[in-house]
């Protein structure tokens, strides 16, 4: 029964979008919710298809030192102007702590030294921006799985929300703060790391110091920089505009594997 309804919705939607194209007036129409809901079905289809193919922790390609981009482009925020962040940076991030809370057995407050003392992983991977460019960099950090195991997930935990120090869009209510979220499939992937090192050195501020996320099978906007807090949640609907990330709130797909 559900399948029939879905199919009807798809067919109606396809008709609507066809008409939209024929009128060459897609701009006003594409904003309408009906069309958008139909188009959004492709994201679900893509995610389920890729998850079906990505069995057994399939790894993103790892390159060699010889493949590194000579210049790794810094995108988004280059240096957060938040006063508290600036003070932390001046102190070499000695006072910085990563909060891990939400649906966990043991909330954590980790210093950079704590993170460095945990098992680490280095990987040379390709960073793909949603705009189309790519850069290859070497990342060193602690697998997110290690941190999550140390904190212990409670029942109901489904997503990790990454709260960042940078406000990418200036607003009066602070709704322009950068954040991201991934589900546990990606959170426990071996290449998903909290990186404190880049190209053999400390992570530069332009690339998210002191800590950024690397989730290698997705696009650049998922690789949240300037991490301050990991919140384990059952749903990300209550954050900001409810779509699970800064760019997601502004129309981009939550599943950024394509």
């Amino acid at each position: 029964m559900t399948i029939r309804l879905d199919r009807r919705r798809l067919l109606t939607g396809a008709g609507v979008t066809a008409a939209a194209a024929a009128l060459s007036a897609c701009a006003p129409l594409s904003a309408s919710d009906g069309v958008r809901n139909v188009l959004d079905m492709a994201e679900q289809l893509t995610m389920h298809a890729q998850r079906l193919l990505l069995t057994g922790d399939a790894l993103a390609r790892e390159f060699t030192e010889a493949d590194l981009s000579p210049v790794f482009k810094s995108n988004g925020t280059h240096s957060p102007d938040d006063a508290a962040y600036q003070r932390l940076a001046e102190g070499g991030f000695a006072d910085w702590r990563l909060q891990v809370d939400g649906l966990v057995e043991r909330p954590l407050s980790l210093s950079l030294a704590d993170l460095r003392a945990m098992p680490s992983r280095s990987q040379i991977t390709r960073h793909d921006c949603v705009e189309g460019w790519s850069a290859i960099g070497k990342w060193t950090g602690v697998p997110l799985a290690q941190v999550l195991k140390a904190a212990g997930l409670k029942a109901g935990a489904r997503y990790v929300v990454f709260h960042c120090a940078d406000e990418y869009e200036k607003t009066l209510d602070g709704s322009g703060r950068y954040y991201e979220s991934i589900d546990l499939v990606d959170a426990f992937h071996p290449q998903t790391i909290l990186a404190y090192g880049m190209n053999g050195r400390d992570l530069p501020i332009a690339h998210g110091a002191p800590l950024r996320l690397r989730v290698e099978r997705q696009l650049g906007y998922k690789q949240a920089k300037y991490l301050m807090r990991l919140e384990i949640v059952e749903s990300f609907a209550r954050f900001y505009r409810g779509k699970g990330g800064f760019w997601e709130d502004r129309g981009y797909e939550w599943y950024a594997g394509i």
Binding site: S30, D40, E43, Q50, S69, Y252
Partner: protein, 287 residues
């Protein structure tokens, strides 16, 4: 009576116009779905390209790396914004169309102009939404066509050039007659000519599969699932460039295809792709 054009049949001339069954229902439906998909994929693709209107070769490529093609905007001596299309080291002024064009009446940096992109205004997220939805539709439609073509014998019967058509003499003859816009008549018009077959095969079995595969290679998720994709095209940025080049060749195909449709009889061709019936002149006796 069915299939015979009365006005032609009534003439005393030795040839008669006969309506033959040209295209099967599957070919007609998949053709028009493809037209819709191609139009939307092209325009939303240009929107996506506009987010970074530069092409590279290899595994990586960004601002600091060498690009072989770029649609750039510069400030001229008078301070006005000028559009430049750069191919290698060659810079071609293309203000108004490529690199910089009118946005709300003002020349602004913009890869492709707003009349060529979907949506018209700059919105990468919206462009991606249209692109991926119609990419799925295009792939499903394409598989339906391929399956039909193999099972129903469409490829073997209609698309594979026959031995006599591939003879160099015959091919040369077709090139010359095409250039003079003279097309096969009579019995010879019952089948696709050799140039048609080669063009359709090139699109269906080479260009369109390359579009799909290079598109998938740009997905970091697909690259993890199917690592051979990256090797096949020599890197994600190569795949992105090939995606653009193959799209350009498809546009070229569509331009020539439409020109040929007009030149060889717009009404007859359109009718054949809508109703399936195509009129040919024949000397055969009445069936």
């Amino acid at each position: 009576m069915d299939g015979i054009d009365r006005s032609a049949a009534g003439r005393a001339a030795p040839t008669r116009r006969v309506l033959v069954r040209r295209h099967s229902g599957t070919v007609r439906v998949t053709h028009w779905v493809n037209v819709l998909c191609f139009g939307i994929l092209l325009m939303s693709g240009l929107q996506i390209f506009n987010a970074h209107p530069e092409l590279y070769w290899g595994q990586y490529g960004a601002d600091a790396d060498w690009s072989f093609l770029a649609l750039e905007a510069k400030r001229g001596d008078d301070g006005a914004i000028e559009g430049v299309t750069r191919i290698g080291a060659l810079e071609i002024p293309t203000t108004g169309v490529l690199g910089a064009s009118a946005v709300n009446g003002e020349i602004r940096p913009r890869g492709f102009p707003n009349w060529a992109t979907l949506p018209g205004f700059r919105d990468l997220a919206e462009g991606r939404r249209w692109h991926f939805f119609f990419a799925w539709l295009f792939v499903i439609n394409g598989f339906a066509y391929l399956l039909y073509g193999l099972i129903a014998g469409h490829f073997r019967r209609d698309l594979a050039p026959s031995r006599d058509q591939l003879a160099p003499r015959h091919l040369w003859h077709e090139i010359v007659t095409h250039a003079r816009l003279r097309f096969p008549k009579g019995e010879e018009a019952r089948r696709y000519n050799a140039l048609q077959k080669l063009a359709y095969c090139g699109v269906a079995f080479l260009l369109l599969p390359v579009m799909v595969l290079t598109g998938l290679t740009m997905s970091p998720g697909m690259d993890a699932a199917l690592p051979w994709l990256v090797d096949l095209f020599g890197g994600r940025q190569s795949a992105r460039s090939l995606h653009f080049i193959a799209a350009t060749l498809l546009v070229l195909f569509v331009v020539i295809h439409l020109a040929m449709v007009f030149a060889s009889g717009l009404f007859n061709n359109l009718r054949s792709m809508i109703t399936g019936r195509y009129a040919i002149e024949t000397e055969e006796p009445k069936p």
